[in-house]
C-alpha cells in the first residue's frame, strides 16, 4: 500500500472536522475524494501533508509513519500537495514559482531540464515566464500550480480542487493533464467537488459527508450508485 490513512480525527478548535476517516492508495492509482463543501476533503489532504494537526489516527506512507512528520519533510518524501485555490506566489514570476516547486532539489541543470519539460506541457507558461504569478488568469494559475508541484518530482500528488472556478474547456484540459501525469507513473489523490469529472478519471473513489467516509468503491460503481447520482452527479 502506498498511502494508508487510518481512523483520522482532526479538530479546528471545537469543530470536529474529520471523524475517523480512513482511506488507502495503491501505487499508480488515481483516487478521488468527493463530497460537498465542508465534508472534510481538503482537511484530509492537509492532514497527509501535515498542514493540520492530527488529534488521533495514523498515516503511513509506504509503511513508514507520516503522522508527525513536519510538512517540509513530507515534501522530501515525494508527497506533493497542490493546494486549493492554487496558491501561486503572487509577487514571484512564473519561473520563480517553478523554482520554489523545485526547492527540495538542488540541481540547477536538472531545474532547467524540468522547467523546459513543464513549458512543453504548458506552453502558456512559457509565454508568461517573466510575469508575476498574481497577474495570471485562473486557468494559467492552475497550470502553474500543477507544474510547480511536478517540479518536485512527486511520487504521490495530492490535488485539491483543480477545477475550482475554471471554465469547462479549461477543466477538460486540466483533467487530461492529470490523467497524463498519472500514466507517467505518479500516483494521484484527487479532491473534487466536480464529482463527475473526478470519477471519470479515477480508479477508485471515497465519498465524504460531514467528516466521515460514507461510501467507497470503484469509480465506475460509484458513478452507477443511485445515492451518489442523486447527491453529487445532478441526479441523471
Amino acid at each position: 500500500m502506498m498511502l494508508e490513512v487510518n481512523d483520522l480525527n482532526v479538530y479546528y478548535g471545537a469543530i470536529h472536522a474529520l471523524k475517523g476517516v480512513s482511506f488507502q492508495l495503491k501505487e499508480g492509482e488515481i483516487v478521488a475524494l468527493i463530497g460537498a463543501n465542508g465534508a472534510g476533503k481538503s482537511t484530509s489532504l492537509k492532514a497527509v501533508s501535515s498542514l493540520v494537526k492530527v488529534r488521533s489516527g495514523e498515516i503511513f506512507y509506504r509503511g513508514e509513519p507520516l503522522t508527525t512528520v513536519p510538512p517540509q519533510d513530507v515534501v522530501k518524501k515525494g508527497i506533493i500537495h497542490v493546494p486549493e485555490g492554487r496558491k501561486i506566489f503572487p509577487r514571484m514570476s512564473v519561473v520563480e514559482n517553478l523554482e520554489m516547486g523545485a526547492y527540495v532539489h538542488d540541481n540547477r541543470d536538472a531545474f532547467e531540464t524540468d522547467m523546459e519539460a513543464m513549458f512543453e506541457r504548458f506552453p502558456r507558461l512559457r509565454e508568461r515566464r517573466k510575469q508575476s504569478g498574481g497577474t495570471l488568469s485562473g486557468g494559467e494559475q492552475q497550470m502553474l500550480a500543477i507544474a510547480r508541484g511536478l517540479m518536485a518530482h512527486p511520487q504521490l500528488l495530492l490535488l485539491d480542487e483543480p477545477s475550482m472556478g475554471l471554465a469547462p474547456i479549461i477543466v477538460e484540459q486540466i483533467f487530461d493533464i492529470i490523467r497524463d501525469i498519472n500514466k507517467q507513473g505518479t500516483t494521484i489523490l484527487l479532491v473534487e467537488q466536480n464529482a463527475q469529472m473526478a470519477l471519470s478519471i479515477a480508479d477508485r473513489g471515497y465519498v465524504l459527508e460531514t467528516g466521515r467516509v460514507v461510501l467507497e468503491g470503484k469509480a465506475d460503481d460509484l458513478m452507477e450508485n443511485p445515492v451518489v447520482q442523486e447527491a453529487y452527479l445532478g441526479g441523471h
Binding site: V75, K87, M92, E96, M100, Y103, V104
Partner: protein, 368 residues
C-alpha cells in the same frame, strides 16, 4: 486588486474622511512650502552649508536604512514590529567597541623601535574584526530574541508579540546598562579613521569636508544594501524568504522549513543592525546602553515612510529621513535640536495621510 488600488490615488477620494485628509495634506504641504520659501529668502546659509548638511544626513540615512531593513524584513514575514531591533543595533555597537578596546590595549613594537598599539599597526584588520564581531553578536542577539521572545507566541493575536517586543527592548536596555554601565563610552578609532578628518571638496570660496568615517560608513552601507538586495532577489534563501512572506503554508508545501527561514531572517536583520551599530560608534564617537533606542525608532519611522514590508522602501525611507532630519531644521529656520521633532512629525504625517508609505505596501493581501 492592484489596479483598483492604483486608481484610487489618481481619483478624488469618495468618502468624507478621505476628502478631509486630502485637504489637510494640501494645507500641510502649503504651510511647509511657505515656511521653507520664507526661510530661504532670508537665509544666511550658502551652498556649502546646505551640501554639508545633506552629506551628513546621507551618512546618517545610510545607517537608518540598514536598521530599517531589519524592521521591514521581520514585518514582511511575521507582520509584527520588532521594537527590540534598536537594542540589537546597540549590542552590535558594543561588539565593535570591545574589539577596538582590545586592539588598543596591545602595544606592538615595530622593527624601527617605535611602539604603536595593535589598533594602529593593523587598522584594517581591527576595523574588519570590529564589524565581524559586532555583526555576529547582533545576529546572535536577533536569533535569540526570536527564539525566546517571539517564537512561543506564534499564532497568538498580533498585539501579543508586539508587547513582548517592547518588553524585550526594555530588558535589553537594562541588561546593557548592567553589563556596560550607564556612562557613555568613547569609540577609539584607528588613526586612519580619525573623526573630523577627511577630503576637502572646494565649493565656491568655501569647502565641504567629506569625513573618512562618513564616507566609509556610507560606502559600507551601500555595499551591504546591494548585498541584501541580491540575497533576497537571487539566492535560494532570499526566494524562500519571499515565499514565506507571501504565504507561509504554501511555502511549507514547497518544502521550505518556515521556522528556519524566520530564524534566518532575524539573523540577517541582526547582521545589518550590527553593522549600523559599529558605524554609529565609529562615526558618532559615543555609545552607551541607550544608543540603540533613538536610531531604532527613527529607522522604524523610515521603514513606515518607505512602506513597511518593502525593502527598497526601507532603503529610500532611511536615506530620506536622514537627509530631512539634517537639512530640515535649517530649511525651516528652527533649532537643530528639533530634528527629532521633524522625524516624528513625518511618522505621524505618514501614518495619517499615507499609512502604506511612499512605495506602498507590498504585502497588502496577507495583512488584512
Amino acid at each position: 486588486m492592484e489596479g483598483t488600488k492604483r486608481k484610487r490615488s489618481l481619483t478624488l477620494p469618495q468618502n468624507k474622511s478621505g476628502l478631509f485628509r486630502l485637504i489637510a495634506a494640501v494645507v500641510v504641504f502649503a504651510l511647509l512650502f511657505w515656511r521653507v520659501g520664507a526661510v530661504a529668502t532670508v537665509s544666511q546659509f550658502g551652498a556649502d552649508t546646505w551640501l554639508r548638511l545633506a552629506v551628513s544626513g546621507l551618512i546618517l540615512g545610510g545607517m537608518y536604512a540598514l536598521i530599517a531593513i531589519g524592521y521591514t524584513l521581520v514585518y514582511g514575514i511575521l507582520f509584527m514590529i520588532n521594537f527590540a531591533h534598536g537594542e540589537v543595533m546597540m549590542i552590535g555597537a558594543f561588539g565593535g567597541y570591545f574589539v577596538f578596546e582590545a586592539f588598543n590595549a596591545i602595544p606592538v613594537t615595530s622593527a624601527d623601535g617605535t611602539t604603536l598599539s595593535l589598533l594602529n599597526s593593523y587598522p584594517i584588520l581591527a576595523v574588519f574584526l570590529a564589524f565581524l564581531v559586532g555583526m555576529s553578536i547582533a545576529a546572535l542577539a536577533g536569533f535569540l530574541l526570536e527564539k525566546i521572545a517571539y517564537r512561543p507566541l506564534r499564532g497568538a493575536p498580533r498585539l501579543v508579540p508586539l508587547i513582548s517586543a517592547i518588553g524585550a527592548s526594555i530588558f535589553l536596555q537594562n541588561a546593557g546598562q548592567l553589563l556596560f554601565g550607564p556612562q557613555r563610552r568613547e569609540y577609539i578609532n584607528p588613526d586612519l579613521l580619525t573623526r573630523g578628518t577627511g577630503w576637502e571638496i572646494p565649493i565656491g570660496e568655501s569647502s565641504v569636508m567629506l569625513t573618512y568615517t562618513g564616507v566609509f560608513s556610507l560606502v559600507l552601507s551601500a555595499i551591504l544594501m546591494i548585498g541584501l538586495f541580491v540575497l533576497v532577489q537571487r539566492t535560494k534563501l532570499g526566494k524562500a524568504m519571499r515565499a514565506v512572506a507571501q504565504d507561509k503554508s504554501t511555502a511549507a508545501l514547497m518544502g521550505v522549513d518556515v521556522d528556519k527561514v524566520i530564524s534566518q531572517t532575524f539573523v540577517i536583520s541582526g547582521l545589518l543592525a550590527g553593522a549600523a551599530g559599529v558605524m554609529w560608534g565609529i562615526h558618532n564617537q559615543l555609545i552607551n546602553y541607550f544608543t540603540g533606542f533613538l536610531p531604532g525608532i527613527k529607522a522604524f519611522t523610515a521603514a513606515v515612510l518607505g512602506g513597511i514590508g518593502n525593502i527598497p522602501g526601507a532603503m529610500i525611507g532611511g536615506l530620506f529621513l536622514g537627509i530631512v532630519e539634517s537639512v530640515g531644521p535649517a530649511a525651516l529656520g528652527i533649532d537643530f535640536q528639533l530634528k527629532d521633532v521633524i522625524a516624528f512629525s513625518i511618522l505621524i504625517l505618514v501614518l495619517i495621510f499615507r499609512p502604506s508609505g511612499i512605495l506602498g505596501e507590498a504585502l497588502a493581501e496577507e495583512k488584512v
